[in-house]
Amino acid sequence: MNNPIVIILAATLALSTSEVSYAHSLKKQGEAVQVADSNMTVTPSRDWNRLRGKIGKQTESWTLDGGQLNDVTFFGGIEPGKPLVKERSKKHDPLPKFTETTLLVEVPELLEGTYRTYKELAAFTLGASAPTKFLGRDGVRFAYEFTDRDGLTRKGEAYAAIIDKRLYMATFDAPRLYYYDRAIEDFRKVAHSAKL
C-alpha cells in the first residue's frame, strides 16, 4: 500500500464511489424499480434518468433531456395533512394539503393550488379529467397547462389514485412545443406500468 500509485487509485475509487450516491442515475428499460421511497413500482419501457434532487419527502423525479424539458414526478403515498412537495416555509409560505376528506375529483385542484402557490403563477388551466385505472384501482387522469415565469408554456398530464387514505400520483410536465408530444407516450407507458 505504500506505492503512491495505489494510494492515488484508491483515493480516486473512493471519490468516484462517493459521487455515485449523489449523482443522477439511470433507470433501465424493462427493469422494475421502486419509486419515491414507497411500495410503488414501475417498469420503464425505455431508459430514463432519475434526477438526484427531491422536491418533497415522498417524491422522485425522472427526465429524458433535463427537468426543464420533460419531467416525470412520482408521488408515493402522500399522507393526509401533508403537502405534495416540501414547503419553503411552513409558517410564511404554506402549501395546500392533501387531507382525509380530499376527493379524487379534487386532486386536480390540489395539484393546481400547489403549482400556483409554489411557483407564484396565475396562468394555470386545468384541462379534461376522466376516470381511469391507476395502480389497479379507480383513479383519475387529468391534463393541465401553465405558463411559468420563464415565459414558456408547458403542458402536463397526471394519473392519481387514493389508496388507504394516501395519495399516489404520477405527473408529466413538458414544454407545449415539441417536447410534450415527443415524450407523452413514454410517460403513459410508465404510468400504466405502475403497481403497488
Binding site: K91, H92, P94, L95, P96, T99, T101, T102, L103, L104, V105, E106, P108, E109, E112, G113, R116, T117, E120, L121, A122, A123, F124, L126, G127, A128, S129, A130, P131, D138, V140, F142, T147, G151, T153
Partner: protein, 400 residues
C-alpha cells in the same frame, strides 16, 4: 471610483433631509422635457437591454392582450401624469397575481393583474402608475445602477487593501465598511422610492383625480397583510420597521406621508370608482380566481370582503365558497355550502357553484342533497372538463 461613497453620502444626506416628514402638499411636477433619449454609455446600454427585454415581453404568453383593458389602464396613467408625459410609455398588463407594477428605464410599464384586483378606483390605480412614472422621469434606474456599481467598487478595493494587512483590527474595519457601504446603498434605493412617491403624488395633485387615494392603497394593503398573517398564526406585522436590505420604505410610513402630501382641496375630486368598476366587471372574477388559488386564506378573504363593499355579486359568493372549500375543515365546508347557496340564489345558472355546493355537501355527509346539486351541475354544463368524474358520484350517471 473610491470617491463614490462620498458622492453617495452627500446625495443621501440631501434626500434624507426631504424624506422623513412632509408637512405640505407635494410640489407640482416640473414642465415635461419632451421625448428623452439616453445619454452616456451606462444609460444607452441600459436602454438597449430594456428594448430587448420589451421585445420578448411583447411576445410573452403572460401578457393579457385585451385592447380595451390596456387602453383603459393607459388612459388612467395619462389622466394621472398628463397626456404629454404618458406618451413616452408602453403599458403591458401581465397575468401575475402579485400586487405590483414596474417601469423600465426605456418606458416599458408592466402592470400585474394582482394590482388591478387590489385598486378600487382610477385614483388609486393612477397613484401607483404615477409612482412608477416618477421612477422613469427621475431616471432612477440608471442612478441605481451607478450607485450599486460604486458600492461594489468600493468593496472590491477595500477587500484588496484589507487583505494586505492581516490584523484583527483591519478585518473589523473592513466589516464595518461593508455594513456601512451596503447599508447606504439600500437606504439610497429606499430614498428613490420616497422620491418617486413624492413625484407621483405631485402628478396626482395636479390631475383631476383624488390624491387622497394614494394613502388609501397602503392602508388597504396593510389590512390585507395583517389578515393574511392572522390566519397563518404569525405575529402582528410591524408596518414601521425598516429591514437592513429593504428595497421600499415600510407601508406605514408611506401611508402617512402620502396622506400629508395630498392636496387637501383635492379631497372632493372624483376618484373614478364607477368607471373603474364598469371596465373591471368582466376581469375581477378572473383575477380573483387567480388570487384565491394562492393558498392565502386570510389575504384572499380580506380582498373578497373589500370587493363586496360595493355589494355581493354571485361571482363573489362563489369565490368565497371556493376559498372556504379549498381550506376544507368541516366548519369551512358548512360555510362554503352557505356561500354557494347564496351564489345560486343570486344566479341560478352559475354551474360551478352547483359543483362546489355538491362537493361540500358530500363531505358534510348530506349525500342526497349533494347528488341533486351535482346533477344540476351536469345538466347546466354537460361538457364540463370534469363531467366524467362527477358522473361517477351521481347514481344513474355513467362513467366515460
Amino acid at each position: 471610483m473610491v470617491s463614490s461613497p462620498i458622492v453617495l453620502g452627500v446625495s443621501l444626506a440631501a434626500l434624507a433631509l426631504g424624506s422623513p416628514a412632509f408637512a405640505a402638499p407635494a410640489p407640482l411636477p416640473p414642465p415635461y422635457a419632451g421625448a428623452y433619449q439616453p445619454q452616456g454609455v451606462d444609460e444607452i446600454g441600459m436602454w438597449r437591454e430594456d428594448d430587448e427585454s420589451e421585445r420578448r415581453l411583447a411576445l410573452s404568453p403572460l401578457v393579457i392582450r385585451d385592447e380595451q383593458l390596456t387602453s383603459y389602464v393607459k388612459g388612467v396613467l395619462c389622466e394621472a401624469v398628463g397626456t404629454d408625459r404618458c406618451n413616452a410609455t408602453r403599458v403591458y398588463i401581465l397575468r401575475e397575481p402579485s400586487f405590483n407594477a414596474s417601469m423600465a428605464a426605456n418606458g416599458t410599464m408592466r402592470v400585474h393583474s394582482g394590482l388591478l384586483l387590489r385598486t378600487r378606483n382610477e385614483a388609486e390605480l393612477g397613484a401607483v402608475l404615477g409612482h412608477e412614472f416618477g421612477h422613469f422621469e427621475k431616471r432612477h434606474g440608471v442612478e441605481r445602477f451607478k450607485s450599486q456599481r460604486g458600492a461594489t467598487d468600493v468593496m472590491a478595493w477595500a477587500q484588496v487593501l484589507a487583505s494586505m494587512s492581516s490584523s484583527y483590527d483591519v478585518r473589523r474595519s473592513y466589516q464595518n465598511v461593508e455594513l456601512s457601504v451596503f447599508g447606504h446603498f439600500f437606504r439610497y434605493v429606499r430614498d428613490q422610492e420616497r422620491e418617486a412617491d413624492l413625484v407621483g403624488i405631485g402628478y396626482l395633485n395636479n390631475s383631476k383625480l383624488r390624491p387622497q387615494s394614494a394613502a388609501r392603497i397602503w392602508q388597504n394593503f396593510m389590512g390585507e397583510i395583517e389578515a393574511s398573517a392572522r390566519v397563518r398564526g404569525l405575529k402582528k406585522p410591524n408596518f414601521n420597521t425598516i429591514a437592513f436590505t429593504a428595497s421600499h420604505p415600510p407601508q406605514g410610513e408611506r401611508a402617512s406621508y402620502l396622506a400629508e402630501l395630498a392636496l387637501p382641496e383635492g379631497a372632493n375630486r372624483d376618484d373614478g370608482a364607477e368607471r373603474y368598476r364598469v371596465i373591471m366587471k368582466a376581469w375581477i372574477p378572473r383575477f380573483l380566481e387567480d388570487q384565491i388559488k394562492l393558498n392565502d386564506f386570510g389575504g384572499s378573504d380580506y380582498l373578497i370582503e373589500r370587493l363586496a363593499d360595493d355589494g355581493w355579486t354571485p361571482e363573489l359568493w362563489f369565490a368565497r365558497g371556493e376559498l372556504f372549500r379549498t381550506r376544507g375543515t368541516q366548519r369551512d365546508l358548512a360555510n362554503a355550502a352557505d356561500f354557494y347557496t347564496k351564489a345560486i340564489e343570486a344566479d341560478s345558472s352559475l354551474a360551478p357553484a352547483y359543483r362546489g355546493l355538491g362537493l361540500s355537501l358530500l363531505k358534510l355527509g348530506r349525500s342526497a342533497e349533494a347528488q341533486d346539486s351535482l346533477r344540476t351541475y351536469l345538466q347546466l354544463s354537460p361538457d364540463a372538463s370534469d363531467a366524467g368524474m362527477i358522473k361517477l358520484m351521481v347514481p344513474g350517471g355513467t362513467a366515460q
